[in-house]
C-alpha cells in the first residue's frame, strides 16, 4: 500500500527473486503434472503428506492453522476452517509464517558478543556455555547490588511467556516490563473504569457501528476484522472517524477525518444529545449504573455545536449519529478499539466510549459490546520462593520520576491533585509502564538496574524515543536477548539466545477470552532445523545452572530452596512440556486429543455467551459494584471521576504536523518486515503528506524529505496523498532498522520509535503515540 510502487525496480526484483528462490525453492522439490490427458493436477512430490493443526504466532491473534507438511517439509499453512476465533481466515502474515523456519536470517546458535555493543562481532557458543554465562551474570549482579530487582526482564505476550516468568520468578526480580503500555493499557483502563472489564464488540450482529481511530481492515484482529465485513448484517451502518482515509474508512458509510485529539468531544456530544433528547435506556441506567446525574450535569455544556468547534464534524451530523446510535441500541456498537494510547487523555476517551455504550444499554447482549468469557484452565500451582533481596519495582513510586515526560498542562486539568499518581496503580504489576520504568532506570532512582533480559520484545524499535532506550542500555552490565532473528534490540545485546519458531515446538495452551471463548495451543509441525530452544527449555537450562550457584539462594529459607528444586525443576521444567499441557486441560476429558487434532478446544462447541452480567445482582468489578458512569476509584485517587473534556495541552506549531502512526495488514509491529513474502508487498515505509501541503512544501511523490521532531530527525520518501488530513503526517511502523542481520530491511525507510517523543498518559502509564509534532523539509 505504502511506497511499494515507487521502490520497485526490476533489477532488485530479479536479485530478490533469485535470492529467495535459493532460500526457499529447496524446501520442496515439486512435481508438476498438468496435462490434458491424465487429468492429474498434483504439484507435490509423492510422499508422506500430513495436515497438522496448530496455531499461528505471526501476530497476537492466535488464529487456527492447519499446516500441510510433505516429507517433513512445510509446504503451506492453511487456515483452520473450524476455528471459531479466526473464522477460517489466515492473513498474509499467517501465510508467510511458512517461510519463517527456513529464513536465512534466523539465529541458529547462541551468540556471545566479542566486539563493542552494536558492532556486530559475535562468537558462536554452546547452549551449556550460554546457560552458565547467564547464571553467572545473574549471580554477579545480585551480589554486586544486593538487590535482585537490579535485573530487568522485558517481554511481550506469547504462549511461552509464562516460562520466561519461571526464570524471572526464580531469580526474584520485581522489574518486569511488558508491551501493555505500548498497547492496550489505556484502552483497558478506560473501559474498565466503567464496566470493570474490557469487553469485545459483537460486530457480527451490530446494526450500527462507530469506529474511532481503529483501522480494522488493516490492523487485523480476529474475529473483528472478519466480522465487520464478512458477516456484516444487511443494512449495518459503519461510521469511521480517523485522520487518515484508511482501508476501514474506505468501507465506511460515512468517514470523518476527525481532528486529532478531539475524538472525546465528538462522543461527549453524542452523550449530550442522547441524554438531552431523552434517548437513553432508562431501565438499564436505572438498574445497572451509578452516577447518571453527575454525568448528566457534566455533559450539559457538550453540545454538538460545542463539539463541532473542536472536532470539525458538523453539529447536525453529530446529532444524527447520536439519534441513529440510540435508535439501533442495544445493537449499536461504539467500537472499543485495540490500539495503543494516542493522547494523554486516552483513558478518558475510552471512558467516554464506555459511558455512551452504558447509557444506551448496549451491553452484554447480542449486537452490543459484550464482556469476554473465558475457558478455565488448570493452573500449575507452583510456589516461587520469597527472596529477601527482591526490592519493589524501580518505578513503584513513579511520581516525580516521570515529570519530564508529562507536560504539566496535560496533567493539570485531568488530575485533581495536579500530579500523576503511582504509574503502576492501574496496571497489572507484572506489566510495568515502559515510560516510567525507563525514566527510573535512567535516573537510578531509587536503585540501580544493571541487567536487562528481553524475550520477544523489541524495545529499540517499539518504545518511543529510541535514544533514551539506548542510553538505558549503556547503563546495563549484561544484556541477554532471546529471539528468533537478530532484532534491533538483540543487536545491542551481550548474549543472544536463539528461540525456536512456533512451527517447531510445543506451546502450552492459552485461553483466549471473547464472546466465544476458546483454548488454543501449538504443536510441532516440523522438526527443529537448527540448534534453537524454546523458552521452556531455556528457562530450565538457566535455572539448572542457577541452582548450582549457592550465592543465588542465600536470601531464602533452605527449605524453600529444596521445595523450589522439587516443584519447579523436577515438577515442571524437567518434565516433557506435553505433560504440562495435559495438566492444563486435565478438567476436560478428551480435550488434549481434541487439541492435537484441531489445534483448539472449546468445552461447549464455542457458543457465543451473552448476558452473564445482565442480572441486577451482578457485581461489576468496580468500586460500587455497578456500571460506574461516575468513577469512585478515580475520585479516591484524585482524578476526575467523570470524562471531563480538557483542551489539548500541546498543538502543532506553525509549519508543524501532528505525527501519526499505524499499521498495515501485512506486518506485525516490528517483527515480520524481514519475511521476504511480506517484504515484497512493502519494501520500506514512506511519510504520508496531504497533497495540498506537499504542494506548499514543494514536495512531489517519492521525494526524499527530512522529518524533524524534538528528539530526532530522519530522511524518508514522501507519499503524497489525499488520504490524510492536511495537519498530519503518517508513518507505518517497523522500518528504519538498525540490525544489519535483518538483511532485507536494514536501514530501509525510517523508524517511528526514533522520531516519536515520549509522552506519558499518567493514568494507564501508556506511551502516547500521537503527541509528536514534526517539521517536514524537502531535501
Amino acid at each position: 500500500m505504502i511506497g511499494n510502487k515507487m521502490t520497485r525496480r526490476k533489477f532488485l526484483g530479479i536479485s530478490a527473486a533469485s535470492a529467495a528462490g535459493v532460500a526457499f525453492a529447496p524446501a520442496l522439490t515439486r512435481v508438476v503434472r498438468a496435462s490434458e490427458k491424465t487429468n492429474d493436477y498434483s504439484i507435490l512430490p509423492k510422499g508422506k503428506r500430513e495436515f497438522i493443526a496448530s496455531n499461528c504466532d505471526m501476530c497476537v491473534n492466535k488464529c487456527g492453522i492447519i499446516c500441510e507438511v510433505v516429507e517433513g517439509k512445510l509446504h503451506k499453512i492453511n487456515p483452520n476452517p473450524k476455528n471459531i476465533k479466526s473464522r477460517g481466515m489466515l492473513c498474509a502474515k499467517g501465510n508467510a509464517g511458512a517461510a519463517l523456519p527456513y529464513s536465512p536470517d534466523r539465529l541458529k546458535t547462541p551468540l556471545l558478543r566479542t566486539g563493542k555493543r552494536g558492532e556486530g562481532k559475535w562468537k558462536e557458543i554452546s547452549w551449556d556455555e550460554a546457560f552458565k554465562l547467564v547464571a553467572k551474570n545473574l549471580a554477579d549482579l545480585k551480589e554486586k547490588y544486593q538487590n535482585r530487582s537490579c535485573v530487568a526482564f522485558a517481554s511481550t505476550e506469547g504462549f511461552q511467556e509464562e516460562f520466561y516468568y519461571y526464570l524471572v520468578n526464580s531469580f526474584g526480580s520485581m522489574n518486569t516490563v511488558r508491551h501493555t503500555t505500548l498497547c492496550l493499557s489505556s484502552n483497558i483502563q478506560g473501559w474498565s473504569s466503567v464496566f470493570g472489564v474490557f469487553p469485545d464488540a459483537d460486530l457480527q450482529h451490530a446494526e450500527y457501528v462507530i469506529m474511532l481511530g481503529s483501522d480494522r481492515a488493516q490492523a487485523l484482529i480476529t474475529p473483528d476484522s472478519v466480522d465487520f465485513q464478512r458477516f456484516k448484517p444487511k443494512g449495518q451502518k459503519l461510521i469511521v472517524l480517523d485522520p487518515r482515509f484508511t482501508e476501514t474508512a474506505a468501507k465506511a458509510d460515512r468517514w470523518y477525518p476527525v481532528k486529532p485529539r478531539t475524538d472525546q468531544a465528538f462522543v461527549l456530544a453524542l452523550i449530550n444529545v442522547i441524554i438531552s433528547e431523552n434517548l437513553y435506556d432508562h431501565a438499564f441506567v436505572e438498574t445497572y449504573t451509578y452516577g447518571f446525574e453527575e454525568l448528566k450535569n457534566l455533559v450539559v455544556e457538550y453540545t454538538p455545536e460545542w463539539a463541532q468547534a473542536k472536532c470539525e464534524i458538523p453539529a447536525d451530523e453529530i446529532r444524527q449519529i447520536a439519534r441513529e446510535f440510540a435508535y439501533h441500541a442495544p445493537r449499536s456498537v461504539i467500537y472499543p478499539g485495540r490500539r495503543s494510547a494516542f493522547y494523554p487523555n486516552e483513558v478518558y476517551i475510552r471512558q467516554t466510549f464506555a459511558i455512551l455504550a452504558a447509557i444506551c444499554g448496549c451491553w452484554d447482549t447480542i449486537g452490543a459490546v459484550v464482556p469476554k468469557s473465558s475457558v478455565k484452565l488448570n493452573m500449575h500451582n507452583v510456589i516461587f520462593p520469597f527472596f529477601m533481596l527482591s526490592q519493589p519495582r524501580v518505578d513503584k513510586q513513579a511520581v516525580g520520576l516521570v515529570k519530564d515526560v508529562v507536560p504539566d498542562s496535560v496533567a493539570c486539568p485531568m488530575v485533581g491533585t495536579g500530579l500523576p499518581v503511582d504509574s503502576c496503580a492501574f496496571l497489572s504489576e507484572k506489566d510495568g509502564s515502559w515510560g516510567s520504568f525507563r525514566e527510573a532506570v535512567l535516573q537510578d532512582n531509587p536503585y540501580p538496574v544493571r541487567g536487562f533480559f528481553c524475550f520477544k520484545q523489541n524495545p529499540v524499535q517499539s518504545v518511543p524515543n529510541v535514544q533514551k532506550t539506548l542510553t538505558m542500555f549503556e547503563k546495563m552490565e549484561f544484556i541477554c536477548v532471546i529471539e528468533q532473528q537478530m532484532s534491533d534490540t538483540a543487536w545491542y545485546a551481550d548474549l543472544v539466545l536463539p528461540h525456536s519458531t512456533y512451527l517447531e515446538s510445543w506451546d502450552p495452551v492459552h485461553n483466549l477470552g471473547g464472546i466465544e471463548p476458546i483454548v488454543e495451543f501449538r504443536q510441532p509441525v516440523i522438526k527443529p532445523l537448527f540448534d534453537t530452544k524454546t523458552m521452556f527449555e531455556i528457562a530450565g537450562g538457566i535455572i539448572h545452572e542457577m541452582v548450582k550457584i549457592p550465592s543465588l539462594w542465600d536470601d531464602i529459607e533452605p527449605a524453600d530452596f529444596e521445595a523450589f528444586k522439587k516443584d519447579i525443576l523436577e515438577g515442571v521444567l524437567d518434565k516433557p512440556i506435553v505433560e504440562y499441557i495435559q495438566h492444563q486441560v486435565l478438567e476436560y476429558p478428551g480435550a488434549f486429543e481434541e487439541l492435537l487434532k484441531e489445534g483448539f478446544y472449546t468445552p461447549d462447541g464455542g457458543k457465543a455467551r451473552y448476558g452473564s452480567t445482565r442480572n441486577p445482582d451482578f457485581r461489576f468489578k468496580t468500586k460500587t459494584g455497578k456500571i460506574e458512569l461516575f468513577n469512585e476509584r478515580y475520585k479516591e485517587f484524585g482524578l476526575f471521576p467523570l470524562p471531563k473534556y480538557c483542551e489539548p495541552s500541546a498543538l502543532p506549531g506553525p509549519d508543524q504536523y501532528r505525527f501519526l502512526v499505524g499499521r498495515t495488514a501485512w506486518n506485525t509491529h516490528t517483527s515480520t518486515q524481514n519475511n521476504p513474502y511480506l517484504w515484497e508487498i512493502q519494501k520500506e515505509n514512506t511519510i504520508w503528506i496531504n497533497t495540498a501541503e506537499a504542494k506548499k512544501l514543494g514536495i512531489s511523490q517519492g521525494d526524499e524529505v527530512r522529518v524533524k521532531s524534538k528528539v530526532s530527525e530522519q530522511t524518508i520518501k514522501a507519499y503524497v496523498t489525499e488520504k490524510i488530513r492536511p495537519d498530519c503526517v503518517f508513518y507505518v511502523n517497523g522500518w528504519g532498522r538498525q540490525s544489519p542481520w535483518m538483511s532485507q530491511i536494514y536501514k530501509r525507510g525510517a523508524s517511528e520509535s526514533e522520531i516519536l517523543e515520549d509522552v506519558l498518559d499518567t493514568i494507564s502509564g501508556s506511551m502516547c503515540m500521537h503527541e509528536t509534532f514534526v517539521t517536514i523539509t524537502k531535501i
Partner: protein, 397 residues
C-alpha cells in the same frame, strides 16, 4: 571422392579485391561476444540475463529476429523475381542474393533460438503437438521451409555444372511465395494479439512484407557498394537501378501504410493503440521513431533515390546503409511500442510499474550480446564466403 570434390574447385578462390578481412574480424569479435552471451544465458538463465519483463515479454531479440528474417525473405523475393518472373536484371546477383538470404536467415534463427526458453522442445512439439490456430506454428513452418528452399537454391546456384534455370525458377518462385507467407505470418503473430490493439489487424503482415523487400534491396545495394569499395562496376548499374526502383516503390508503400496506421491509431479507440503510437510520436520511443524510422529508414533513402534519380550507385549504397540502420529501429520500435501500454494500470498493488502510464523496457547487455551473435554470424559467414567463394557471375563467365 576427391574427384567429385574437384569440380567444386572452380568455385573456390581467394578474393583479395573484396575488403572482406575487416568484416571477418569484426564478425569474429561479435561472434565471440555473442558466445559469451550464450554462455551467460545457459549459466544464469534467460530471466536473469535478459531485460524482458512480465509486461514486455518480447524485447530486442524478437526485434533482431524480425530484422534478420524479414530481410531474408525480402532477398528471397528479389531472387524470386529474377528466377521466376523473368526480371533478368537481378539474375546476375543471384548467388549473392541466395547466399545473403540463407546466411541472414540463419542469423535470424540464432536470435529466435536464444530467445525461446526451450528451442529444442519446439523441434518435436511442432510435430507432436502443433496448434494450428497459433500463428507462430505457421510462421515457424514457413520459415523452416524457406530455409530448406534457400539451401537447395544455394546448391543450385552454386552448381559448378551450371545453374539449372528451370529448377532455379521453380525454387525462386517458391522462395518468393513462402517468404511472403512466412513474413506475413510473422506479422500475424502480432496481428493476432487482440489484447494489444496496436498490433492487431492486417497492417503488420503487409508492412513487414513490403519493408522486407525494401530491406532486401537495401542490403544488396549496400553489400555491392562494400565489396566494390563504393565503386560498383557498370556491369551492375542496371541491377542496382532495378533495386533502387524496387526499394523506392516499397518505400512509397511503406510511407503510405505507416501514415494511415499512425493517423488511424490516433483516433480515440482503442486506447492502447493511441498510447502505443504516442510512445513513437512523442514518448519514450520518439527519438528512435523520428531519427531511425522516419529519417534514416524513409526520408533519407527516398531523398537519395530521388536526388540520384536511381543512377548514382554510391548514393544507392548510402540509401541502403541508411535504410538498414533505420530498419533496425523500425523493427525495435514496432516490437516495443505495442507492449508499452500496460494491460493493467500501474496502480498500487497491481504489480505493474509504470512511468507516465507506460511500462518500461530497455535491452540488457545480455540481449545486445545475443544480437552480436546474430550480426557476427552474418558478417563472418558472408564475408568468409566473399573471401573464399566465387560469387560473381561476371568473373565466372
Amino acid at each position: 571422392m576427391f574427384q567429385s570434390l574437384d569440380k567444386y574447385r572452380s568455385m573456390i578462390r581467394i578474393n583479395k579485391d573484396v575488403p572482406s578481412m575487416p568484416f571477418i574480424i569484426l564478425g569474429a569479435i561479435l561472434l565471440f561476444l555473442g558466445f559469451i552471451g550464450v554462455v551467460r544465458v545457459f549459466w544464469q538463465g534467460h530471466e536473469a540475463v535478459y531485460g524482458v519483463t512480465r509486461q514486455v515479454p518480447w524485447g530486442l531479440l524478437i526485434a533482431t529476429y524480425a530484422y534478420f528474417v524479414i530481410t531474408s525473405t525480402g532477398l528471397a523475393f528479389i531472387g524470386g523475381l529474377g528466377h521466376a518472373f523473368g526480371v533478368t536484371v537481378f539474375a546476375k546477383m543471384s548467388r549473392r542474393i541466395v547466399l545473403l538470404a540463407f546466411i541472414i536467415l540463419l542469423a535470424g534463427f540464432t536470435q529466435i533460438g536464444m530467445e525461446l526458453g526451450h528451442p529444442f522442445r519446439l523441434l518435436y512439439l511442432f510435430i507432436l503437438s502443433p496448434n494450428f490456430s497459433a500463428p507462430i506454428v505457421w510462421m515457424g513452418l514457413f520459415y523452416s521451409i524457406e530455409l530448406v528452399i534457400l539451401a537447395i537454391e544455394l546448391y543450385v546456384v552454386f552448381n559448378p555444372s551450371g545453374t539449372n534455370h528451370k529448377v532455379a525458377a521453380v525454387l525462386g518462385f517458391f522462395a518468393l511465395l513462402v517468404g511472403i507467407v512466412a513474413t506475413s505470418n510473422l506479422g500475424f503473430v502480432f496481428g493476432s494479439l487482440t489484447a494489444r490493439p496496436f498490433y492487431h489487424g492486417v497492417y503488420f503482415p503487409m508492412y513487414l512484407v513490403v519493408s522486407g523487400i525494401a530491406g532486401g534491396a537495401a542490403l544488396l545495394m549496400l553489400i555491392y557498394n562494400i565489396i566494390y569499395k563504393f565503386n560498383v562496376p557498370d556491369f551492375y548499374s542496371d541491377a542496382m537501378a532495378g533495386l533502387g526502383k524496387l526499394m523506392g516503390i516499397c518505400l512509397g508503400v511503406m510511407i503510405f501504410l505507416l501514415s494511415w496506421k499512425i493517423v488511424s491509431s490516433l483516433y480515440t479507440q482503442p486506447q492502447d493503440s493511441v498510447e502505443a503510437v504516442t510512445t513513437l510520436l512523442k514518448g519514450p520511443l520518439s527519438s528512435h521513431f523520428w531519427i531511425g524510422e522516419i529519417l534514416l529508414a524513409l526520408c533519407l533513402p527516398v531523398a537519395l533515390l530521388l536526388i540520384s534519380r536511381v543512377k548514382n550507385l554510391k548514393a544507392l549504397g548510402m540509401a541502403g546503409l541508411a535504410f538498414m540502420i533505420g530498419m533496425f529501429f523500425t523493427r525495435y520500435d514496432f516490437i516495443v511500442a505495442g507492449q508499452l501500454p500496460p494491460m493493467r494500470a500501474g496502480l498500487e498493488g497491481a504489480g505493474v510499474e509504470t512511468i507516465a502510464g507506460l511500462v518500461q523496457y530497455s535491452p540488457s547487455v545480455g540481449e545486445w550480446m545475443v544480437f552480436a551473435l546474430g550480426l557476427g554470424l552474418f558478417l563472418f559467414l558472408y564475408f568468409m564466403s566473399e573471401r573464399f567463394l566465387v560469387l560473381d557471375e561476371q568473373t565466372r563467365q
